[in-house]
């Protein structure tokens, strides 16, 4: 199922924070991982990931460093800072509360 682009755009920060809370990753790896976990449902434009990563980095949620990966290629790895971990927990809670409210609104009212 293809999701609305604006909906994906709005949740991209949450997805990044969630994935990076598990381990440090580079941009391409974040894309691969989100596609794998969503079973190909998330098809956002890969280039738009980088401005989002830089935005989170500027807010102090991410740290970054260039590392040599297993294939010998240099890649920029991102990981969460302490503020990023807090933001990740807060965003998840917000999302859960939000979806609960939306689900409640969408469910049929008891007759």
């Amino acid at each position: 199922m293809a999701f609305d682009r604006e909906l994906l755009k709005g949740s991209i920060a949450l997805l990044i924070l969630r994935l990076l809370s598990e381990r440090d990753m580079y941009g391409y790896e974040i894309i691969q991982e989100s596609v794998r976990r969503s079973k190909d449902a998330f098809e956002f434009k890969e280039g738009t990931l980088y401005p989002a990563l830089h935005q989170l980095h500027r807010r102090g949620y991410l740290r970054s460093e260039w590392r040599t990966g297993e294939t010998g290629k240099q890649r920029k790895y991102y990981g969460l800072t302490a503020a990023g971990r807090k933001a990740a927990r807060r965003s998840e809670q917000e999302w859960i509360s939000f979806t609960k409210v939306v689900n409640a609104m969408l469910s049929k009212a008891p007759s």
């Binding site: 890969e46 830089h54 290629k73």
Partner: protein, 256 residues
């Protein structure tokens, strides 16, 4: 240039990221992503043309990515511009004061007058230093803001010139002519410097000066060598050009 280079170049051109280091880093990061993408395509057996088509589809429009980057770094870009412009104006004013001061000192020495006599009218001349810098830098700023149109590029300079005319007429009505002519000379020299014809821009400082001379007489009636205004202005404009070039080299695409 490969197709992937073209994508990265377009993003970088339109994103207007502040700082040379950051630009290099983002370029390297996007390039690494596209290399991974190309490798994935090759491993799936796609030829170069198909790989480029799929990469474009998956990577997204360079214009949109650049706009997102520009929005992330917008406040920083403006802060840097303001800081760099302030630095440019300060460095230019100091350079102009040094050049004019040196020319006047040499004249004083030739006349066997005390060198410190050049400080006699320093409070009035400071208007002139500021006006030279303002004339030159306002036209340069216009060129940066409106690179495609000379008429629009001249707008900030003309507006500032009118504001200064009103200010000088109010503050120093008796000595308003010299700073205003200095302003016009500096702007006119910058205009001719753009043509890149060696020494032609000398006329840029000479012409407004001659017109003013014909219309309102000697600009500095009390001075022994009033014609020294011209070399002072001309060398100042040369110094300003070098300062602008230095800033463009040091701050790279932030300034160019």
């Amino acid at each position: 240039m490969t197709y992937f280079d073209h994508i990265v170049a377009r993003v970088m051109l339109q994103a207007r990221l502040p700082g040379n280091r950051r630009r290099r880093e983002v370029e390297r990061e996007l390039r690494a992503h596209l290399d991974d993408l190309a490798e994935e395509m090759r491993s799936q057996g796609y030829d170069d043309e198909a790989a480029a088509r799929i990469a474009r589809m998956r990577f997204g429009e360079p214009r949109e990515i650049a706009a997102a980057f520009a929005s992330v770094y917008g406040p920083e870009r403006w802060a840097r511009r303001i800081l760099q412009s302030t630095l440019l104006f300060a460095a230019s004013s100091i350079a102009v004061a040094l050049v004019v001061g040196t020319v006047q000192s040499l004249a004083a020495m030739c006349m066997a007058a005390p060198v410190l006599s050049i400080l006699r009218d320093i409070h009035q001349e400071s208007f002139g230093f500021g006006a030279i810098t303002a004339g030159y830098c306002s036209l340069y700023a216009g060129e940066r803001l409106f690179p495609g149109s000379l008429a629009r590029a001249a707008l900030p300079c003309v507006t500032l010139g009118l504001c200064l005319a009103a200010l000088f007429a109010w503050l120093v009505p008796q000595q308003a002519a010299l700073p205003l002519v200095a302003f016009a000379c500096a702007a006119s020299a910058r205009l001719l410097q753009r043509l890149e014809i060696p020494f032609l821009w000398f006329a840029g400082t000479a012409l407004p000066l001659l017109i003013a001379w014909v219309m309102i007489g000697r600009l500095i009636p009390c001075r022994e060598f009033p014609w020294l205004v011209w070399p002072g202005l001309t060398i100042s404009c040369k110094a300003l050009r070098e300062i602008v070039r230095l800033f463009e080299r040091v701050f790279g695409a932030d300034f160019a």
